[in-house]
Amino acid sequence: MFTIVVNTVRSYFRQRQRRGFVRDAQVERLASPDPSAESQVEAQQTLERLEREICELPSTHREALLLAVVQNLSMHEIAEVLEVPVGTVKTWLRRARARLMKRLKEHL
């Protein structure tokens, strides 16, 4: 049903994986209110690391995470898009976040 959507998400991540860019806007958003050079560098490193870790997630986990975070889709909607049970979506999201938290322990 949502084959095009899923393919779009996949291609989006492939492109992101190749480019691996982090924009300054996001760095500023994540940095502390004090826009010192040090905090900006640290925020940039965090985002780069986060992006790397996302790209290393299994594709199913990535898609579910993107649909949940970017699109704010509900569990049922994600399940419908990915054509999997709701429980599977929950499992993917839980594992994706758990893995990211484990890998980014020092940044959280």
Partner: protein, 360 residues
Amino acid sequence: MSACPEIRDHLLTFGNRDAVHVFQHVANCEPCEGLATRVLKLEAQLRSLVELPVPDGWVERLCARRELANSSVAAERKEERPFGFGQNVEHPGLWSARGVSLSVHAACLLIGLALSMQNDVGSPSVPSPSIRIRFYEPGASGPGGGGGGGGTRGPSPAAPAPIEQEFSEAGSGPLAPRAVPALELDALSTPELPEEVTSLLDAPFSPDAIQLPGLSSDVPGGPRADSQSAGTGSGIGGGDGRGVGTGEGRGVGPGRGGGFGGGDYRPGSWDIDPVLIHGLEPAYPVQALERRIEGEVLLQIRVRVDGATEVLRVLKALPYCVEAATEAATRYRWKPALKAGKPVEAIGVLTVRFELVPQR
């Protein structure tokens, strides 16, 4: 110290703590609060990250695709309805689709029936206890009430002749009817007794002077071994064994000490056993199932005149099963026992057998 598993799962799944129970828990649990803080930070980073410029029109395409899917689903539902009512019969493949659908449904139905029959034939998933009811012999005399008290303290007689009737149930089973020799209490009426007997408490008494009709020292069940009358006097205890409650003691003759009267109430005899009208087997207690406990629960029950059941005592217990058996027994309703056409109370033993694999 790690976070609570349930809260951890919720936080990682939903990426927030918006649920009321999670919010309240996190406020009071330090490890969970720490985890929630880190999850929220990660979520903020994720949302920040994905706000990066995505491929042109990616989000729009996603939304449009979702809208399109929703509208197409609605349209499909509209179109499907006429099919179900036999319209648009010219639709290609309709009959083959119907045939396939019919076949699949029939197969599912048959499989379901087969599985249910197999379950019935095989060992039941939840065994149910079996019930067996045994009443005491109809027509036999029921155990009587307690015996009467012994004689009162008096002058020491030359030839003590303690005579006590015992109606207790010891040694003959809990409720086995016992043949009780009829004590002709009426024969002990005072006119036939010397006048000294009537003034027993006041005057010294000589047992030799008394001739008691129908009473002798060889009465069955004579002196009880455990009698507390260590006296040297003679006591006569009389009990009514025909359903009278506590025995009434009448002491005759001098003696020291006295017997103890009284006993459990027992209903009398009946001609026709009670007939069970309504009653269900108790459910197998879960704890007993888990521990694979099997055995019997024996309940002594009394079937009242109104048909209700009263559990008198537990004769044999089984862990976790007594309560279930008792509860089931009290719900039983009976057609009461009959004696001379009149309903009377009856006593029986209800055996509830708890078996994991019922014997067939």
